[in-house]
């Protein structure tokens, strides 16, 4: 990026303009509070929804833990222990306060603490998502910008890639990559996860195939949006005027056009992250990674509701946090919205 030219006393463009300081930061703060409030509401709603859905199950957790051969006394005792004899609202409140304190209940399958495993597996999923964002971000934005500037054949190439990319299921792509790079070429491990502490190299090589798979399947969306918004910006008057003032093409593109094109791209990044989180479910299953995604699948198959609930809330929380970050970035980029 080129150097920012601004008034010496002001450190950077993104700091609030003089007028905002004069008028106070009221509107900005209330906007962020509103967004945060919406986020909290969203998480609560999802948790409530999963809770109510789970309570509708014929046969509760006590039944699935004990199996069909338990005596009525054993069943009643466990129900009391799990709080299942309480009214639904009380149960939800207990679960919610527990979750806020890190107690997400007990897995009905393993009997272990859901909260503890959530932390361990959450880390694996987070790493996978970061890998995928890097792959998708570099390829998507790069391809989008280049094809917007070059138009013509490369533009059509991005069209074709995004069309086909949207049609290729991530798990299928993962299997093909695994077949080629792991089974046939034997370059990378096909499945499994090595903790970073054991061997950073194996940790990294193990994350390549899942990360690339997930990144590639979300990349086309980003590439197409980047190309569309960059080509839209390139048509605008100010770009012509900037060139007429003798500015170099690099400065026009990187400093001005990309910044103006960023808002719609950010919106797509938000959608992309939702897609990535969903994608972990498939990618972790294909590559047998011990993350949240593969966990929720086995839990679903095993009818392990506390786990499904916890992961659902975690994923929603992830999406909501990313959207908050995007709102904040949008504000930072857009002086008009800051008022």
């Amino acid at each position: 990026m080129t150097v920012e030219i601004a008034a010496p006393p002001v450190e950077s463009e993104t700091s609030a303009p003089a007028a905002t300081t004069r008028e106070g930061r009221g509107p900005l703060l209330s906007f962020l509070l509103l967004a945060a409030g919406r986020a909290v509401l969203c998480v609560l709603l999802v948790s409530l929804l999963t809770f109510v859905l789970a309570s509708l199950v014929p046969g509760d957790s006590a039944r699935s833990i004990l199996g069909v051969n338990a005596t009525p006394e054993q069943y009643a005792a466990l129900r009391r222990e799990l709080g299942l004899d309480q009214p639904l609202a009380q149960q939800y409140w207990d679960w919610l306060t527990g979750a806020l304190h890190g107690d997400w209940g007990t897995s009905t399958v393993s009997g272990g603490s859901v909260g503890a495993e959530l932390l361990v597996r959450g880390r694996v999923s987070l790493v996978l998502v970061v890998f995928a964002i890097v792959v998708a971000g570099v390829l998507g934005v790069g391809l989008g910008v280049v094809s917007a500037v070059r138009q013509g054949r490369l533009g059509r190439f991005v069209d074709v890639v995004s069309l086909i990319g949207a049609a290729v299921p991530s798990y299928w792509l993962g299997l093909v990559l695994a077949a080629v790079f792991a089974v046939y070429l034997r370059l990378l491990p096909a499945t499994g996860y090595t903790p970073f502490g054991e061997s950073p190299v194996e940790w990294f090589t193990g994350m390549i195939l899942p990360g690339v798979t997930l990144g590639l399947t979300t990349m086309p969306l980003l590439a197409k949006q980047t190309r569309d918004s960059v080509s839209d910006e390139l048509q605008k008057d100010y770009v012509h005027v900037l060139r007429a003032r003798g500015l170099g093409e690099r400065s026009v593109l990187l400093r001005h056009v990309l910044r103006n094109a960023a808002s719609p791209i950010l919106t797509v990044v938000g959608l992309m992250v939702v897609g990535l989180l969903s994608g972990t479910v498939l990618a972790e299953t294909v590559f047998v990674l011990p993350g949240l995604g593969s966990w929720v699948v086995t839990a679903t198959l095993a009818h392990d509701l506390p786990v499904v609930q916890a992961v659902a809330v975690c994923f929603t929380l992830g999406v909501v946090l990313v959207n908050l970050a995007i709102d904040a970035a949008y504000l930072a980029l857009n002086p008009r919205a800051r008022r």
């Binding site: 008034a7 093909v176 005027v241 003032r245 003798g246 500015l247 929603t316 999406v319």
Partner: protein, 656 residues
Amino acid sequence: MTRPASAPDGAGAEGRRRAGFVRRRPLAAVAVTYLAMVVAATLAAPVLAPYGADDQDLGAAFSPPTAEHWLGTGALGRDVLSRLLLGGQVTLSGVAISVVVFVLVGVPAGVAAGYLGSWFDWVLSRTWEVVVAVPAVIVLLVVLAVHPNDETLAMIALGLLASPGLARVVRSATMDRRDALYVRAAQSAGLSSLAIMRRHVVPGIIGPTIVQVSLFASAAVMLETALGFLGLGVQRATWGTLVAEASANLGQQPWLLVPSGFVIISFVLSLGLIGDAARDAWAARMTGGSPLPRVPTRRHADPARGVVPDEPVLAGGDDSDVLLRVRDLTIAYPDRGGEVVVVDGVSFDVAAGEAVGLVGESGCGKTALATAIMGLVRGGGRVVSGSIRFGDDELVGADEATLRSFRGGRMGWISQDPVSSLDPRFTIGSQVAEVVSTHSDLSRADAWAHAVRLLGRVRLPNPADLARAYPHELSGGMAQRVGIACAIAAEPQLLIADEPTTALDVTVQAEILDLLRELQADGMAVILVTHDWGVLAELCDRALVMYAGQLVEAAAVDDLVASPAHPYTAALVAANPSLARRGLPLPTIAGTVPPPAEWPTGCRFAARCPHAVDACAVPVSLTVPDVEPPGRRRSTRCILPESFTGSGPRREEVPA
């Protein structure tokens, strides 16, 4: 695409439209055909499938494609083709269920929110905000954890979950329609809400709905197959479970990935193609019908056209202080597969410090000419031939670095729309400072200080504070002053202003013209593109009149107004409000500037000229008329210049 029965065109027109759709979008037609074939084969699967879905042939397990098993076999020797056909029934019925729910919930909700507005709209927006933050897969997993393997329920949930997205699109389409004039008219004519919806609103939402449905259907196929792959769906052969089978036997028979993957990818791809085509078709109809037929058109300026070459329009002063010398400049734009000339062999000089106007109607090539001087013709246009000399440098064919040093350096550009020509994301000061530092070696602090000085020079109040403001905080007049500050940042010798006052209020116009006159007095030459004689007379000594890509007359502004030597100039002057005579209707010029591809070989104004004679059908060159008194430089492209010289504008002869 469907149209309401009340539409004026009948079934024949509809058929023709369909045929046109197929011809213009062959890929989409292929996709529709393919989808229909897959669906038909799936429906007929019990008849078509050579084996049952679970028929085993243990001897032929994991066989590659053979005569017995066209697509090979999987574990236990089960026939892949049969399993694909029969599995399609599960997959596609799941998709169909969710699409039906999607449409049945989304469309009514969207129409209601868009047409009725108020609280319902509010509820829809809030629901959308929540739903968009929830990964669909997670909700489906929750549903499936509660009701194991109940795929129907999962697909219903998926349709419900996605329907707010459709509702939002339908809502905005409905609102567009609701606010359209003809719907307003129908309302005031007393049509009932229901009738208005059926007649006017529903046709408007069909297009967007088709696009959304095809997008959602592909998402539904992806999710259904994903559930199958994860083993969470129906415990039978489906497209998804076939991939799972391939996954389990990756080392044994990688071929298994191919048929299952192909069927899913091709199906989703077809849906995507249909969605894209529907969106394009819809956009085309919204913007006024089918795309133009592609006709290769190629018109090039022919130097050997057999006429006397144009005499270049010379600068007012003596030859030694010529700043800009344009010779035989021809500019062409890409057009329907060919190229079309929009500026045709223009030659003129501009002296240092001189203010020259460029007048003509829209579409005459003024802006193309002005931008070409900077080497920045917009919209894919290019200089075909000719020369632009600035001082001692040739600009046509110069490399980009040289051109950049001229742009903003030795010539400044002032644009028509001051607000949209500033980058909305940067402060005024940083945009001016950026130009300053591009053309100098000043430090950041010095560049900023100079930018503030420039803002003061263009008479902006409190330049130091204003430098920290953003473009949207400025009025149009202030924005234009900022634009001028950028243009003069490097003390250019030439300012090119493209209708700099058109977008401004009259009072502000005068201030901007004062500022430009001041800059000219400081020694900057000005090329002013305008169609306003008032503006022209304010600022310019001399003007060039352009019509249909050619210079048709050039003279001192006073002479042009008092005694036009070309009927186009006469008509332009007569049609100008700022010079109109009180109490008389304002004359207009009959007809319009023909598009470049239709310019005639003879006099291009002849078709609109009240004085045209047969001789006007041959090409006319730009010449200095003999009757011109010595010392007054003027040129005209008319074979009958005498009929205007000295006679003044013939208002009565310009058809109103």
